[in-house]
Amino acid sequence: MPRLVATSPRDPAVDLVGEPAGSTYRELAHLRAVELLIARKALRITDLAVALRQAHNWGSSVAQTLIAAGKIRAMDYYRTLAEVYELPFVDLQQQPIDPDLVSVDDRLDYAARHIVPWRRINGRLVLAATEITADHFVWGDARFGTDNYDFVITSPFDILWQTQALFRDWDSLFAREALHAWKPEHSAKFTTTKAQRMTLCGAAALLLAAALLAPRATAVTVMAAFTLLYLVTFVFKFVLTVVGSSRRADVDIPPEALAAMEDVTLPPYTVLVPMYREAKVLPLIARALKNLDYPPSKLEVKLVLEEDDAETIEAAKALRLPGTFEIVRVPASQPKTKPKACNYALQFCRGEIVTIYDAEDQPEPDQLKKAVYAFRYGDPRLACVQGRLNYFNRSENWLTRMFTLEYSQWFDFLLPGLDWLKVPIPLGGTSNHFKLAALRQVGAWDPYNVTEDADLGIRLAQEGYTVGVINSTTYEEANGVLPSWIKQRSRWIKGYMQTWIVHMRHPIQLWRSVGTKGFFSFHFFIGAPPFTVLFAPILWALTLAFWLTRGTDFGWLMPGPIGAMAVFNLLVGNLFLIYFGVIAALKRRYYELVPVGLMLPAYWVLHSIAAYKAFWQLLFRPHYWEKTEHGTSAITQKSLAAVKGDAA
């Protein structure tokens, strides 16, 4: 298409009888392509009619709508579009880009604008693009000068595939090191800093000296400190549960409000699904994502797969997913973590909002719209909304019941409580929806932190952003296999320890950035819990021993008020923690779980076992990612069989 036509307003004198009034030349080119496809019987006219209506309602192009709905293959469409433009179509996999022509500075533009320098032919630069618009000329002129280049047409997948290949090493490095290079103090690449190690050694030396000089007083002081820590943690949880149990703490987005949102106003949305060796559950997440109530033409789903995970890649290809799905292959490198994979994929995202789902997730269909609603009517500084997580296999065994109670308490009481108190919220690993710009501004995920989600919640708060909770649930598979549960839990506890240590490198700065309330919450919601489960067995044993051997030599360790606090923690604190677990089931009407909740202390023992493993790993394998195995549930197996049955 000549530059003049592409960059000028439409000429009314041009004969375009039958074309929709007000169409731009860009739209007309796409309509011509569609006409050609119909003429060649590659597209049915009824499908076009539906797509035209949807495109109008959704505010998308007809091409995006048809490809997203799977009515036509992207490759066929862009070949036809090339004919309309009277330009060659190039398959970039067969005819790859000249690597000397691309620049890392334009890396994000290639993905966002779908344009990339391709080759020099007869000394003249040729750009590969998915269409030709005035914007493309502006972009090209700014880089290569006016009239110094020509165009060829290619497909978005070719550009994605080629840019992945070309910038493989750069993107991989960026995914691993960007945060550390930008703000090393916020990165868990090194667990502790020199100053922290010196402080720790100093404190240990002081404690040792005190223990030698005044052993009894030191022991009493240490015991008092732990007892007080435990007490404050309990009181904070109590407050959060009471506040979070209130209906006012629930950000309730009614269905009518969602219905009133016009699809045309919805922003483009990216869904990231990082997976590693999850081939068997892939059909389930694919089905769940296809069921999302969001215009497919505004949705891009990126299956983020490790490039050495051939099994999952092949399984994804075999599903023949619609055009909204893309595969992003993450180069093999250390640390092999989910946040690193997400950082890598983030460089290919085009949505205004980006969210993450795990391989076994089953989000409620309204979740994306609810997130848009929350962003639209929320505080302008709202950078992320967290969907609630719960389990679909809660009644499978004792462990899944306990896990469900725990998650219900976390997402239905504690997080809404934190939200209500306006303090930093540690995000859950999935179903968190970000404004892409804000996510990039804070340096995205820390690839070295094994609970990158919790860490990101704190970093967002430190950068002045807020996080909210929405009333839409993602159902996951509860880990019902004990060794696998211990692995997963040890990673979470290790991650919380990492997060606390990282953000305590500059405590005053942290306090200034998140405020006194946020600072307190950070310590007693993120910092203290991993350490309290570590010390809980010791405290329980000592308190019990003190109580049972009252009047003997043991009582000196907990004099007066300390003893009262310890007894309070042991009886009232722990029983109320059980109570919180019990009532957690009520919001979701999981009444059958309520009596089971009385067995929570046994579950806490497992927490403590996991905490010791976590602590060991924090010392010796801080970045090791304990992989959680999914697909073990009988319900998952049943759902998979149903999906296969549907497909057959």
């Binding site: 505010g59 639209r376 029983l575 009532i583 919001k587």
Partner: protein, 373 residues
Amino acid sequence: MTVLELGSLADAHPESPKRPFWRFATVVVALCITLIMTLLAWHVMIEGYARQDLVAELGAARLSGGWVTQLVLGVIEQIPNAGLRVLALTLLAAAGSGFAFALLYTRLRDNAWSVTLAVVVALAVVLNAADVYVFTASARPLPLYLALAVLVPAVGALEGVGDVQSAIVLGLLMPLLLLASSITAPLILPFAIGTALANPDARRDVRALVAMLLATLLPSFIVAIGIVGLLAQAGINPETAIASYGTLYAHLRPGDVGASLLALGVLAPIGVVPILYCAWPGREPHSTAAAFCVVVLPIYLAVARAASALPIPAIVPAMALLASFAAWLTCVRLPRALQLLSIVLLIAAAALSWTQTGIWDDPAWKVALFTRL
């Protein structure tokens, strides 16, 4: 501008901004009431009246099941200087009253009371002899009033909203009945059953009923265990405390229930308003349970007072009615006629509280209060 921002411009914001609790008027009311109560208490002390709550033996509250009182007084007792003890207790009670009246005023305004009427209600309650007595002479029954005052709105929320959150909140508040007085402890079970049955699922499904009963009863059970544990830890035989409950209920007698109820009716005629409200045409739906509690709980206290051996003054059930009525006002929109009737009856109650000395009186306190005032 992003699509997200464009969308925000296109649609009107669906929510109206909430009014903050701490408004100028709220602060003024809180400060005024705190100041008035502090000055009155100080004046009473200077005139030689010793606070009854500090004069009584520390363990007395324990024997009547007043665990909150026991705890607060136990902490106050740690202050070495007697004057400072009085000051600490006075300031604590005055600050509590300031906050309570600020809350009352703010919620009245939110519930469509005019500024004048809201101020008159607050003044009529403040000027009630029972109220002044609590904040200047003996704050021992304060936890009892507090328990009823927080339970009434919680019952209202349970009836109005009817979801599990309101049941949980009510369950968490029920231990106050255990902590306030041994006389209110038996109310826990009927409250728990009522709360559980308020949930529609519990009326259909036994599992839900069991779950809701656990949710409402467990907090009181936990607090009871905590009391026993802490008593044992403090070297006090828990059996003596438990025995006080046994003694109380083993020695129940018919007593002069009629006189006790009459005293309640005379000192707190305001109980008529919730009864009228229940029969009022066009009242808010699902709003009778809280009104019922406003009347029934003080009647229970009046009956229990007559039937038990506990030395409960006649003014206590009346003040309990006043407290629960004030709490009820914070969560109900009264019709104009009932607003006016409430004011008339509150003023009458205030007048009767000072004049009906045959029912309740503390002459020494009144002498101290009115000397050089």
